[in-house]
C-alpha cells in the first residue's frame, strides 16, 4: 500500500510538472500580454514593465526561472488582476470560499443524486423512475446560468429567504443558493450514473441469491447492490469533486461569491501568468488526489480488483 501511495505521489508530481510547463507556454502563446490595456499603455511604460517582470529575457530563461520559483513553492506575484500581490495571499482568501461552497454543493449533490439513482433503479421503468430521471435530466439540461438567476429571483428577491448575492464566511444563508445551483448538475449526473450502475448489478446472480434467501429488499439493495452500483458514479465523482471545489465562474458571478473561479477567468483575460498558474496547480493537485481517492474507493467497492492487484 505504501508503495502504491508513493508511486502515485511521484506520478502526481510529474503531472504537476507537465502541467506547469504546458500552462506556462500556453499563457505565453496568447495573442495578448499582461502589460496591455483597453486604453493603450505608452510603449516606454510597457518596455519598463516588461523589464521589471523579466519579460525582456529569452523565453527559455524565463521558463527556467519560473520553474525554479515554483520548485521552491513560490507562486510569484500577480501581474495584472491584483498587480503586485502575492498569488499565495490572493488564493488564501479565495480558495477557502470556493472550497466551502464546493463542499456544500457536494454535500447536497451526493446524497440527493445517489438516493434518486437508487430509487429509480429499484423502480425501474415505472412512473417513479421516469419522473426521477426526467427531473434529473432537467437538472442537466438547464444550465446553471439559468437555474442560478431563477433561484436568486425566486428565493432571494421574491420570498426573501436567502440573500440574493454576497458572501459571509460564517453565515450559512449566503451559501445555500449558490451551493444548490452548483450541486444540481452534479446531482443529476450522479443520479443517472447511479441508476445505470444499480441496474447492472441488480441483474447479477448474487442479488438473486440474496433475494432468494428471503432477505429484505431494502437490505439487498443497500448492503449488496449499492457497492457494485456505485462504480460508475465514483469514477465520475473524482474529477467532479475537484472541479466543484475549485470554483465556478458562473455561479460565483451570479451570486457575487469571492471565489477562485472569477479570479481565474480575469487572469486569463489579462494573461496574468502567475494568477493563472496558481489555480491551475491547485486544480491539478486536486484532480490527482481526487482521482487517486476515487481509485481507492473503487478498489474497496470491488473486492475482485483488490485480489488482482
Amino acid at each position: 500500500m505504501t508503495r502504491v501511495i508513493l508511486q502515485r505521489l511521484l506520478q502526481g508530481l510529474l503531472v504537476l510538472f507537465v502541467l506547469a510547463t504546458l500552462t506556462f507556454f500556453l499563457v505565453r502563446a496568447l495573442p495578448y500580454g499582461p502589460f496591455q490595456d483597453e486604453r493603450a499603455v505608452p510603449s516606454h511604460v510597457r518596455e519598463r514593465l516588461e523589464q521589471l517582470h523579466g519579460y525582456d529575457k529569452p523565453l527559455v530563461v524565463q521558463y527556467a526561472m519560473r520553474l525554479g520559483n515554483l520548485a521552491r513553492g513560490e507562486l510569484g506575484t500577480s501581474l495584472k488582476v491584483m498587480e503586485g500581490r502575492e498569488v499565495t495571499a490572493i488564493l488564501a482568501q479565495a480558495f477557502p470560499v470556493s472550497l466551502a461552497l464546493g463542499l456544500m454543493a457536494m454535500l447536497i449533490a451526493v446524497p440527493v443524486g445517489v438516493a434518486a439513482g437508487v430509487i429509480a433503479a429499484v423502480r425501474r421503468n415505472r412512473v417513479v423512475d421516469y419522473a426521477v430521471m426526467a427531473v434529473a435530466l432537467l437538472g442537466i439540461c438547464l444550465p446553471n446560468f439559468v437555474i442560478g438567476p431563477v433561484l436568486a429571483e425566486l428565493f432571494g428577491r421574491r420570498l426573501a429567504w436567502f440573500p440574493v448575492s454576497g458572501w459571509e464566511p460564517r453565515d450559512l444563508s449566503f451559501m445555500i443558493l449558490p451551493a444548490v445551483t452548483l450541486g444540481l448538475g452534479s446531482a443529476a449526473y450522479l443520479s443517472r450514473l447511479t441508476r445505470t450502475g444499480m441496474v447492472e448489478v441488480l441483474h447479477q446472480d448474487f442479488i438473486r441469491t440474496a433475494r432468494a434467501k428471503g432477505q429484505r429488499e431494502s437490505w439487498v439493495v443497500l448492503r449488496h447492490a449499492l457497492r457494485g452500483g456505485l462504480i460508475p458514479p465514483v469514477a465520475y465523482l473524482g474529477p467532479a469533486f475537484a472541479a466543484t471545489v475549485s470554483g465556478s465562474v458562473v455561479v460565483e458571478s451570479i451570486f457575487q461569491v469571492p471565489g477562485i473561479g472569477r479570479l481565474f477567468i480575469k487572469a486569463i483575460e489579462t494573461s496574468d501568468e502567475a494568477l493563472i498558474m496558481g489555480p491551475v496547480l491547485i486544480y491539478g493537485s486536486l484532480i490527482v488526489v481526487a482521482n487517486f481517492l476515487a481509485d481507492l474507493v473503487q478498489l474497496w467497492l470491488n473486492p475482485r480488483l483488490r485480489s488482482n492487484s
Binding site: 490595456d37 505608452p42 516606454h44 514593465l49 491584483m82 503586485g84 500581490r85 479565495a94 448575492s165 454576497g166
Partner: protein
C-alpha cells in the same frame, strides 16, 4: 449519516431564522447608520492613484483623496475648491499658481503641503515607476521628456549654455531607429556592423555606460547627422556617459519639470501650452497628492506596490479614510475627522461592492442591498421604466459608442466608402432599439461644457449608395467581405451587419475574448471594430487628441496632417471660444474622413434609491461623496 442529519438540522434552523427575522434589508439598516452602499463593478487592482487606470478605482480614490480642485455636486463645470482655496493664471494661461489651504492635513495628522504635490507629480512621472496614466500629466512643461527618460534632451537640449541648440541636435538618433536601415561601410567587419546596428536600434538615450564608452573611443560606431559637429558629439556622449556612470541619477530637477513649491502653501505649475481648462483636468485622480512620508516609509519613491495603499496603511487627504478591504467582498471607507471640511460630510461611511455581473447588481439593488448601482443591463431598461420608474436614472455621460474602421483595408481606404457606412446607419433607430437610453451621435465629441461639435452625421441610404457607386463599388460589388470585431455579446453587431448588408456589403461578425479583442485593435488586425470611449475631463480634446498619428488609442491606421495642425493650433489658443471654434474645424475633418463612425452618445443608466440626497446628474459622473446624504 450523522453529519448529514446535523447539516440538515442546521439548514432548517438557518431557514427558519432567516424567514423569521429578515425584515430589515441592508439598505434600511444602512440608512439608519448613514452608510452608503454603492455598486462599483469591479474589484480595484490597487488604490495607488499613480498606478490604477480604471473607473471603479477612481470612485474609491475620490473618497479617500482630494485634488487641488474638487468636484462640485451639481455642476461639472463648477470648480469647487479642494486642497487649493484659490488659483490664478497668467494672461496666456501657461503659468498657474494654486494657493493651498493652511489647514490641509493628511488623515494621519501630518500637514499637507505643496511639497507633497511636487513629490506626487515627480513620482507619477518618474520613468522607473512605469505609470500607465503618466501622459495625463504631460501638459506640465517638460513632463513628457522626463517621463520618457529623454536623457540627451534633458542633459544637453535643456542646457541654455550648450553649444548647439536642440532644434539641430534633436535630429540626432536619441530614441532609436529601425536598425536594418543602418548602412554600414564596406570596411566594417561583422562585429562592428552588429554593434552599429545595436546602438542605432537603441538610440543614445538608452545606451549603457559600456556602449557610450565604446562610442567615445570610436565615434564611427554611431551615425550622426552632418549638422552636428564632431566636438559637440563628444560632449553629448560625454554627458550621457557621466550620467550613466553616476548610476543614472534622477533628472527631475535637471529636466526643469514645470512644477514647483514656492512655499509650503503655494504650488506653481507651468504648462507647455496654454490650458484654460487646467482646473477641470486636475480633478482627475492622476493629479491627486500622495503622502510622501507614508510612501517613503514603505519603500522607495519608484517602487510599485509597496503596500502603502492597503487597508491599515493608506493615508489620504479626502473626506473618508480606507477602513476595510475584503477582496471581492467590499471596500469600506469611513469619515475622516481630520478632513478640512469634515463638518459638511454627510455620511458615516461608504461601502463599495465590486459586483461585476450587472444582472446580479440589479437583483441586489432590488433586494435592498445597494443604494446605487454602477450600471443596468440594457435588457432591463424597459422593465424598470414600467415597474420602478422611481429608481431608474438615465443621464447624459461623456462617452461615445462608435465603429472603428481600419483604413488600411481595401475599400475602407476610401473615405467615400467610410462615409457611406456612416450614412447607412439610422442612429435614431439604433438608440431606440439597440443602445436604449443613449442619444444618437451627432459627432465624435458629445456636448460638453460649451463645446458643440459640427453636427454633420445624417442617415441617407440613397446618398450612401450613390457614394459607394461613386467610389467604384456600386451595390458593394468589388468590395471584400468585412468582419465586425466585437467582444461582449451586444446586439449592435447584429444590427450593423444588417445595416451594412443594405449597402450590399458582405459582413461577418468576429467575436473574440476581451484580451484578443483589445490586442487585435491595437495591432490593427481587424476590418471594423465596435468600440467606445469615455472622456477623462471636460474638454473636447479628450475625444479628439486620440485620432492622431502614433497615438496608442487611435487604432484605425488613419492620420491627417491637416487635422493635427488644427489640434496644434487650438492648443496654442488661450481663449476658449476661439479654441473651440478651431476644434470644431478639426472635428469636421475627422467626420469628413470618417476613420471612426460615431453611433451613439453614452448615457449613464443605473438604479438609484430616492432616499439618497445630494446626488445630481453629472456628465463626468464624478459625484463628490462628501455631498451625499441619506434620508433615514
Amino acid at each position: 449519516m450523522l453529519e448529514l442529519a446535523r447539516f440538515t438540522a442546521i439548514l432548517m434552523a438557518g431557514c427558519s431564522v432567516l424567514t423569521g427575522c429578515r425584515r430589515e434589508t441592508p439598505v434600511e439598516s444602512a440608512n439608519r447608520e448613514g452608510v452608503l452602499l454603492v455598486g462599483n463593478s469591479a474589484e480595484p487592482r490597487a488604490l495607488d492613484p499613480h498606478l490604477v487606470t480604471g473607473v471603479p478605482e477612481s470612485k474609491i480614490l475620490s473618497s479617500v483623496f482630494e485634488g487641488l480642485v474638487a468636484d462640485h455636486p451639481s455642476g461639472d463645470d463648477v470648480m469647487a475648491p479642494g486642497v487649493a482655496v484659490r488659483w490664478e493664471h497668467d494672461a496666456d494661461m501657461k503659468q498657474w499658481v494654486f494657493h493651498l489651504r493652511g489647514d490641509a492635513r493628511w488623515s494621519d495628522g501630518e500637514p499637507l503641503t505643496a511639497a507633497d504635490f511636487v513629490f506626487s507629480y515627480q513620482r507619477m512621472l518618474h520613468p522607473s515607476l512605469a505609470a500607465a496614466y503618466a501622459p495625463m500629466l504631460y501638459p506640465i512643461r517638460n513632463a513628457e521628456a522626463y517621463n520618457r527618460d529623454e536623457r540627451g534632451r534633458m542633459l544637453c537640449g535643456m542646457d541654455p549654455a550648450f553649444p548647439l541648440g536642440w532644434d539641430i541636435l534633436g535630429n540626432a538618433n536619441f530614441r532609436g531607429t529601425d536598425a536594418t536601415s543602418v548602412a554600414s561601410p564596406a570596411t566594417d567587419d561583422d562585429d562592428r556592423t552588429r554593434l552599429r546596428r545595436e546602438f542605432a536600434a537603441k538610440g543614445l538615450d538608452r545606451l549603457d555606460a559600456a556602449a557610450l564608452r565604446a562610442i567615445l573611443d570610436d565615434p564611427d560606431l554611431f551615425d550622426w547627422p552632418d549638422a552636428v559637429p564632431a566636438a559637440v558629439r563628444g560632449i553629448v556622449v560625454g554627458r550621457l556617459l557621466a550620467h550613466a556612470e553616476a548610476g543614472a541619477p534622477d533628472l527631475f530637477d535637471r529636466a526643469d519639470v514645470g512644477v514647483r513649491a514656492r512655499d509650503p502653501h503655494t504650488l506653481e505649475i507651468s504648462l507647455r501650452e496654454p490650458m484654460p481648462y487646467l482646473p477641470s483636468v486636475v480633478r482627475h485622480f492622476t493629479w491627486y497628492p500622495v503622502p510622501r512620508h507614508v510612501v517613503l516609509r514603505h519603500g522607495a519613491m519608484t517602487d510599485r506596490f509597496t503596500g502603502w495603499s492597503e487597508a491599515g496603511t493608506l493615508v489620504g487627504n479626502g473626506p473618508f479614510v480606507l477602513n476595510t478591504w475584503r477582496f471581492n467582498h467590499f471596500i469600506e471607507v469611513v469619515g475622516n475627522p481630520r478632513y478640512w471640511d469634515a463638518a459638511s460630510v454627510g455620511l458615516k461611511a461608504v461601502r463599495f461592492h465590486p459586483i461585476e455581473n450587472p444582472y446580479t447588481e440589479a437583483r441586489s439593488f432590488l433586494a435592498g442591498q445597494l443604494h446605487t448601482t454602477y450600471t443596468l443591463p440594457p435588457e432591463l431598461l424597459g422593465r424598470m421604466r414600467e415597474r420602478h420608474p422611481e429608481f431608474l436614472k438615465v443621464e447624459p455621460y461623456v462617452g461615445t459608442a462608435f465603429l472603428r474602421l481600419n483604413v488600411n483595408r481595401a475599400g475602407l481606404d476610401d473615405p467615400r466608402v467610410r462615409c457611406a457606412i456612416s450614412l447607412a446607419i439610422h442612429r435614431e433607430d439604433y438608440c431606440r432599439y439597440i443602445y436604449e437610453g443613449y442619444q444618437p451621435a451627432q459627432g465624435m465629441t458629445p456636448d460638453l461644457a460649451s463645446y458643440r461639435g459640427p453636427r454633420m452625421l445624417r442617415h441617407d441610404l440613397d446618398e450612401a449608395r450613390a457614394l459607394l457607386a461613386d467610389a467604384g463599388y456600386p451595390g458593394g460589388a468589388g468590395l471584400p467581405s468585412y468582419a465586425i470585431l466585437t467582444s461582449r455579446p451586444h446586439p449592435v453587431s447584429d444590427a450593423l451587419q444588417q445595416t451594412l448588408r443594405l449597402l450590399g456589403l458582405r459582413v461577418t461578425i468576429e467575436r473574440k475574448d476581451w484580451g484578443s479583442y483589445i490586442a487585435a485593435q491595437q495591432e490593427l488586425r481587424f476590418d471594423m471594430a465596435i468600440g467606445s470611449w469615455i472622456g477623462d475631463y471636460l474638454d473636447p480634446t479628450t475625444f479628439l487628441d486620440m485620432w492622431t498619428r502614433g497615438n496608442g488609442n487611435n487604432n484605425t491606421g488613419w492620420d491627417s496632417p491637416a487635422y493635427e495642425a488644427l489640434l496644434r493650433e487650438a492648443a496654442l489658443q488661450p481663449d476658449t471660444a476661439a479654441r473651440f471654434a478651431t476644434l470644431v474645424r478639426a472635428e469636421r475633418i475627422l467626420l469628413e474622413e470618417m476613420p471612426v463612425v460615431p453611433i451613439a452618445w453614452n448615457s449613464r443608466i443605473y438604479l438609484h434609491r430616492p432616499e439618497v440626497r445630494g446626488w445630481h446628474p453629472l456628465v463626468l459622473d464624478n459625484h463628490p461623496w462628501k455631498a451625499v446624504r441619506l434620508d433615514p
